[in-house]
């Protein structure tokens, strides 16, 4: 180790560079601090002039074609301002998240709501509203709905849909769109199996009437595999990840999820077991559903079903549009080869089901002027605006008047699926639904994997639910 004299070490070479470094860093930090102005989300900033009201709105797809969720609000600004005649003038800053995840979006809102920087209007799934009611992130809309009945086309919202917006009797959202989750089927494959064109075309109707039920479904899928029309495990592809439609099979077997009176969550053990049994049988006994379905990559799912390799598959109505845009399947090819129907009833003569997941606009407690925020939403809820969204993103109408809308009428698909709303169910509005769902979905996965029998799964699941949300649960 060489010794260096303390004196005489020439540090002058360092001197300038150190100072420069320090100044450079200081300048950088100062620059950032100055450039990082306090974020004004539009709701906090004072109005530019006395007569302007700035509002902010957050919306999300995540599917890209749903951008009208934002654009409709923007289009609503003009009629609103006309009605207000400058007292004040409304300015809107609306965002739309394309791609991305629901969880992140919701969490972003939660944190913003707590920091009181949330937008005036938030778009969310109807079931997301329930947890926001407790901490007062959003406001009840009943009075506003009554007061502004004639604004936009609020009064023509399909009545059944309001049910999905309520928590303990109060309404918290305005339906923005809805959809259904049909059972799709490949017409070309059925034809290969020897089905006549009439039989194929008549299938949705037969399901609707309850003539063609789940046992028929399973038999057909098995036959397809036996005949080699599809590969093993490709008779039926169900949903690959969490979501509302998982519960279609619970509802199919008579399950209940929410007690209307108390608002508490309900679990019907018998229905749950049948729901699990349906999946267990499909994967393990009848072998019409591949075990790899649980958590399968969405893109692989879509590719496979669009390649015509699967006979029956579950997806949302919005996928019809998505398959055309993202997967570039020509529309005619889709109509020729793919059909759609309700989820067949559990037994012949029963009622078929589907599940809908309406989205809603809500007014936050951070809104500077809740009346105006509501009115903006109302003005965005008109047949023409809603229809253009419906048609572009393949979501169903929320207004009865949309059935007469010229844009809407042109969409064969929407018209053809509209009837499903009569059979549809919703997931409950409850602050702890997420926990309920988490437990049930995990056990579903376990059942599909063969890790546990349906009966044992039900017992464990109910036990777990009671341990986790006991006081909010009614077990039937």
């Amino acid at each position: 180790m060489s010794k260096q004299p303390s004196r005489g070490v020439d540090l002058s070479a360092y001197r300038v560079s150190r100072r420069r470094f320090l100044m450079g860093t200081g300048a950088l930090v100062a620059g950032v601090a100055c450039s990082t102005t306090p974020v004004s989300s539009g709701t906090q900033a004072p109005a530019a002039s006395a007569g302007t009201l700035e509002m902010a709105a957050w919306t999300i797809g995540p599917d890209a074609p749903s951008y009208y969720r934002r654009d409709n609000l923007i289009s609503a600004v003009e009629p609103l301002n006309k009605a207000l005649a400058g007292k004040p003038t409304v300015k809107l800053d609306a965002t739309f998240e394309s791609g991305g995840q629901w969880g992140d979006y919701l969490q972003k809102f939660t944190l913003a709501a707590e920091a009181k920087t949330s937008p005036d209007i938030i778009l969310a799934g109807h079931e997301n509203l329930a947890p926001w009611v407790g901490p007062n992130y959003i406001i009840p809309l009943d009075d506003l709905i009554k007061k502004y009945q004639s604004e936009g086309d609020i009064k023509d919202v399909i009545p059944n849909l309001w049910n999905a917006m309520k928590l303990k009797g109060k309404t918290y959202g305005v339906p923005q769109d809805t959809e259904a989750r049909p059972m799709y089927y490949r017409k070309d494959l059925l034809a290969k199996m020897g089905w006549t064109k009439d039989k194929i075309d008549g299938l949705p109707d037969a399901v609707k009437k309850g003539d063609w039920a789940w046992p028929d479904f399973v038999a057909t899928a098995k036959e397809a595999i036996a005949k080699g029309v599809v590969g093993p495990g490709m008779g039926w592809y169900t949903r690959t990840s969490k979501g509302a439609d998982v519960y279609m099979f619970y509802y199919q077997n008579g399950g209940e999820m929410q007690d209307a009176a108390t608002g508490k969550l309900v679990i019907t053990k018998d229905a749950l077991q049948k729901h699990y049994q349906v999946h267990a049988d499909a994967v393990r006994n009848d072998k019409i559903l591949t075990q790899a379905i649980y958590g399968m990559d969405g893109k692989i799912f879509d590719q496979t079903v669009m390649d015509g390799k699967v006979l029956f598959f579950n997806a949302g109505t919005w996928k019809w549009s998505d398959w055309q845009t993202t997967y570039k399947v020509p529309a005619q090819s889709l109509w020729d080869n793919v059909g759609f129907m309700l989820i067949p009833a559990a037994q012949k003569g029963g009622k078929p089901v589907t599940v809908s997941h309406p989205l809603a606009y809500a007014v936050t407690s951070n809104a500077k002027d809740p009346d105006l925020a509501f009115r903006l939403i109302a003005n965005a809820t008109t047949p023409d605006l809603n229809s253009r969204h419906s048609v572009t993103s393949a979501h169903l109408a929320v207004l009865t008047t949309q059935a007469d809308d010229p844009t809407y009428k042109q969409d064969k698909f929407l018209l053809a699926t509209g009837y499903m709303l009569d059979f549809t169910k919703f997931i409950p509005n409850h602050a702890k639904f997420g926990i309920y769902d988490d437990v049930l979905y995990r056990f579903l996965g376990a059942v599909e994997q063969g890790q546990v029998t349906p009966a044992a799964a039900v017992d464990s699941a109910v036990k777990e639910l009671q341990g986790q949300i006991g006081d909010e649960l009614i077990v039937k």
């Binding site: 629901w102 969880g103 919701l106 969490q107 939660t110 709501a113 707590e114 799934g125 079931e127 997301n128 947890p131 926001w132 407790g134 901490p135 007062n136 992130y137 969490k242 979501g243 075990q291 790899a292 649980y294 958590g295 399968m296 990559d297 692989i300 602050a431 702890k432 639904f433 997420g434 926990i435 769902d437 988490d438 995990r442 056990f443 996965g445 376990a446 599909e448 994997q449 890790q451 546990v452 464990s460 036990k463 777990e464 341990g467 986790q468």
Partner: protein, 320 residues
Amino acid sequence: MARIEEITLPRERQTAARWRFNATALLFMGPAIALVLVFFIAPVIITFAMSFTDLATSTGLSNWQWIGPENYARIFRSQFWLPILGNTLVYVAVVLAFNVIVGLGVALLSVHMEPKAGGVFRALWLLPRISPSVVYALMWTWAAASPPFGMLNYVVAPFGLEPRYWIQSDPWLIVIFINGFVGASFGMLILTSAIKAIPEDLFRAAQVDGASALQVIRRITLPLIKWPILFVLVYQTMSLFASYEYIYLTTNGGPGLFATETWSLWAFHSALSNYYGNLEFAYGAALAAILVIMGLGISMVLLRVFRFGQLVAEPRVEVD
């Protein structure tokens, strides 16, 4: 081991020196202490306190209540705390072994070859660590995908293994590999530098004495890098207890009933990741609290076993 030498200053400067010492220490440690206090200590305390409340998205930050140890009771009411604990221990142990052994292996191998070649290999091994987690996890997800897309299936086909959806059929394998390749790079980096720092004369002397490569490794290299290995072991253990990101991005704790769920992932899921937005902050905090205690316990054991005291050698310059 360098001996600590003491300097004695003239008397009148001693007291002044001591006073200056404490002020100096404060000056140097100040910013670090401030940051740690505000962004580590305070949140840690808040988190522990939070675990005794019912803070969740359903209560918001203003509507919560103290509920005592209810969250902890709820944890142990779950049928899954034991399997998840088991998962965590297995995960930490296996990945740790992978990390240290492979890291050491790569370090050793890469110094026994042309420096340029060694450098290239080490660079490749560092790739996973410096990649954004999302992108890296994406690669593994794709590799593990079901046919016809997944790469792994093509690789194992010649060996007669059936093609499968790896994330479902062998989730542990994926979890271990994805974390292992990232973690090994940490050990490799540290150990390579440590090995390179060993004076060359030692090696030359050994060669002159006719020692084989293996003997050199066993007798010279390994003992001299004992402390870096130790550091890697301890640091990685604690890292692994707290890590969950790659698991989250690939198997997400699945499939099914928490097959690959670790405790930290469980905490994350509860507090920040619910499909319907039901975030249970306080419950997650309770889970995290238990995790911290576990991590602390294990670190204490490790540090005690490897004689932490020697690692924290007294400072070289003491002005008394």
